[in-house]
């Protein structure tokens, strides 16, 4: 029971990261019906930019963890948000009326471009964040065997805050309402006086900015990364978004947690049911689960069936 609790906490932490990254996929899909494959690599750029800032310009501030991290977070979010808007303007907007395939290829192109630049910038090495960031946080011992580190709690709290904040933003504000309108129909929204391009730009700022923040958090939490991080996490987050029902914000969150926890449980309890080498089976089992859920609910767990427009 105690190890189960510990494994659940492990799974929640991994799932929380998947969930925040999944939000970026789901927001863009909501307004453009486009899978923004560059999202995973923008997220990795958040890790990279955070590393760059914390090890150079802000290195002197790392004694004052909190200040350094807050400044870094703001700069990283602004930078990755701008990167998202630029990519939308350069790689997606010109192709908006070009059917469905071209923008997807364009997105893949943007992903590879970002990854290759990151590879060169980081000299393809594993890069490490300054040691001991936020080490002052206490570890919470629930029992003798179960411990939650302060960093884990902080990550979960931030992830939760992002998700709730975003949900309220989309549901309660004027811009959020406009986003929902644009996701329903671009032309009708335009007739209602909504500046569709502006709304799409805002989406492409917020999604990547949150992705960049998640990237920074990953860097702080795991302490090291390399340029392939975005591909692996991006793919998992994309799947989480589909699992929960793409276009749906609570769905992305739910999908992230389901994926993170199920992966963890396969590794944790695989050996008990005679599954040798469970880490290698983990993905196979997690994705069979995905297929099963999608067969039962083709639009994802929380996805709504939208009637095709004629």
């Amino acid at each position: 029971m105690e190890t189960f609790l510990q494994q659940l906490i492990n799974g929640l932490t991994i799932g929380g990261f998947y969930a925040v990254v999944a939000l970026g996929y789901t927001m863009v899909y909501g307004v453009l019906k486009l899978i923004n494959f560059a999202h995973g690599d923008m997220f990795m750029w958040g890790t990279l930019a955070g590393w760059g800032l914390l090890t150079t310009v802000l290195a002197g501030l790392t004694d004052m963890d909190l200040v350094a991290i807050l400044v870094t977070a703001v700069l990283v979010m602004a930078f990755i948000g701008m990167m998202g808007m630029t990519i939308e303007r350069v790689a997606y907007r010109p192709l908006r009326s070009a059917g469905r395939l071209s923008p997807i290829i364009s997105a893949l192109g943007a992903a590879f471009a970002l990854q290759s630049v990151a590879r060169n910038v980081s000299h393809a090495r594993w890069r490490t964040y300054p040691q001991g960031l936020l080490k002052g946080l206490p570890t919470l011992r629930l029992t003798d065997e179960v411990a939650v580190s302060g960093l884990q709690i902080l990550m979960l709290v931030i992830c939760a805050a992002i998700m709730i904040g975003l949900y309220l933003f989309v549901q309660r504000t004027r811009v959020g309402t406009a986003m929902r309108a644009v996701s329903l129909d671009h032309n009708v929204s335009r007739l209602m006086g909504i500046n569709v391009n502006r709304i799409i730009s805002i989406v492409f700022f917020i999604g990547p900015a949150l992705g960049g923040l998640a990237g920074l958090l990953i860097g702080i939490y795991y302490g090291s990364f390399n340029f392939t991080l975005g591909w692996v996490f991006g793919l998992k987050a994309f799947i989480a978004a589909i699992l929960g029902g793409i276009g749906n914000i609570p769905g992305a969150v739910l999908g992230g947690f389901i994926l993170g926890i199920s992966e963890t449980m396969v590794v944790a309890y695989g050996p008990d049911i005679g599954l040798a080498n469970a880490s290698a089976w983990k993905d196979a089992i997690a994705y069979v689960l995905l297929i099963a859920i999608l067969i039962a609910r083709p639009t994802g767990i929380l996805g709504e069936t939208v009637a095709e427009k004629v």
Binding site: A124, G132, V267, P271
Partner: protein
């Protein structure tokens, strides 16, 4: 029709030089290939290969080359990836190399070794230690490092004799090399009467190993031997500390890299044991000291990993064989290495010779521990040397 003839002329222009290379003449450079991971997870090692080997190539050329011909190093990047490795092998053959040094990891060496064997190119790996690489009967494949099974036996002795462990765990990462080492460790551990209470693998693409670490922590083991690479080794150590687990880690030679300490953080890494070939600066042979000095002078820092030194060793073996046989023919060179090459003063100690499979005879593994300051230091207490079989 016209278009086709233009294409043929263009093809002839492009392919012509390759024809020339294939029929290398006297005075033409002797091309030696070096394949390794210049990018990807192991880029640090691959780039170190280049530094080490280029240093010796320059020295040889300053002294007039080999057989009166200059030596040219042809470098290719396999990114540590088996698919890429096969492409790279074809490219090196097209470039007309007489011998190849590489690759770094066994996973990348395996497909390339097949291609070099088919094309009759002398192939020496400095660092791929998976046992099965030399089980295929390739007459022109050699290695200057030592086998996984030797290291496995050494690790078992270290856990048993030095740590006094009874109940151990073994963790690998599903790569050719790490799984081989893990399997051998299990065999020798059971022979030595140790209980292998945990045997599992991680997925090296993951960033989070807390699920498997929680399982290891719950198994109350005396020691856990991780046979994978240093990037994951560092993450394992860091997350062990973060979970507040008390695990005595011992790492295999692929984790013998200061970057592991950087990734883990000094506090989390301190106390971890490493089984490995000795670090370059811990070698006392005059050839080793001289090489480390030359390397330090050229690049401003000593070689960080023993694999760089062994890459240089591989080049020396090739150059020596070419000098002695006055030939660049693979069959002649391979026959020489198998039969006549004995007691050569190598950088990593005397090379007694190669056995019929192409494996280097003997063993030089040593036990290291990461100090409180995060430095990988030679451990004062070493396991008893094992009897040669």
């Amino acid at each position: 029709m016209k278009r086709i003839s233009v294409v043929i002329v263009l093809l002839a222009m492009v392919l012509g030089p390759f024809g020339l290379i294939a029929n290398a003449q006297e005075g033409e450079p002797i091309r030696i290939g070096l394949q390794g991971p210049m990018t990807g997870d192991y880029a640090y090692e691959g780039q170190g290969f280049v530094k080490a080997v280029q240093l010796l190539v320059d020295q040889v050329n300053e002294e007039g080359g080999l057989l009166g011909r200059p030596v040219e190093l042809v470098i290719e990047d396999d990114a540590g990836d088996p698919t890429q490795s096969a492409l790279v092998a074809d490219r090196l053959i097209d470039a007309g190399v007489v011998a190849v040094i590489g690759a770094y990891n066994s996973t990348a060496t395996e497909p390339a070794s097949e291609i070099y064997n088919e094309n009759g190119i002398l192939h020496i790996t400095p660092s791929s230690t998976a046992t099965r690489l030399t089980e295929k009967g390739f007459a022109q494949f050699f290695r200057v490092c030592f086998l996984d099974d030797r290291q496995a036996l050494f690790a078992v002795m270290a856990m048993k004799d030095v740590l006094g462990a009874q109940k151990i765990g073994i963790l690998h990462d599903n790569s050719t090399y790490a799984k081989g080492l893990a399997d051998w460790t299990q065999v020798y551990a059971e022979e030595a009467g140790l209980e292998v209470a945990f045997f599992d693998a991680i997925n090296p693409d993951d960033q989070d190993f807390t699920p498997i670490l929680t399982n290891i922590g719950g198994a109350s083991l005396d020691a856990v031997y991780f046979t994978g690479y240093h990037a994951q080794g560092g993450l394992l150590l860091r997350q062990t500390a973060e979970l507040g687990l008390d695990i005595q880690w011992m790492m295999g030679n692929a984790s013998n890299n200061p970057e592991m300490v950087e990734i883990a953080g000094v506090d989390a890494a301190a106390g971890t044991f490493i089984t490995t070939e000795p670090l370059p600066q811990d070698l006392e042979y005059p050839e080793a000291v001289e090489f480390v000095e030359a390397f330090t002078e050229a690049y401003g820092e000593p070689p960080a990993s023993v694999w760089w030194l062994l890459a240089a060793e591989a080049f020396n073996v090739i150059a020596h064989a070419i000098q002695e046989t006055e030939s660049t023919d693979t069959e002649v060179l391979a026959a020489y290495l198998h039969e006549e090459f004995k007691d050569y003063p190598g950088l990593s100690g005397p090379i007694i010779g190669f056995d019929e499979k192409g494996d280097r005879l003997g063993t030089i593994h040593a036990l290291y521990q990461i100090s409180e300051e995060g430095v990988i230091t030679y451990y004062p207490e070493q396991p008893q040397p094992q009897a040669e079989e």
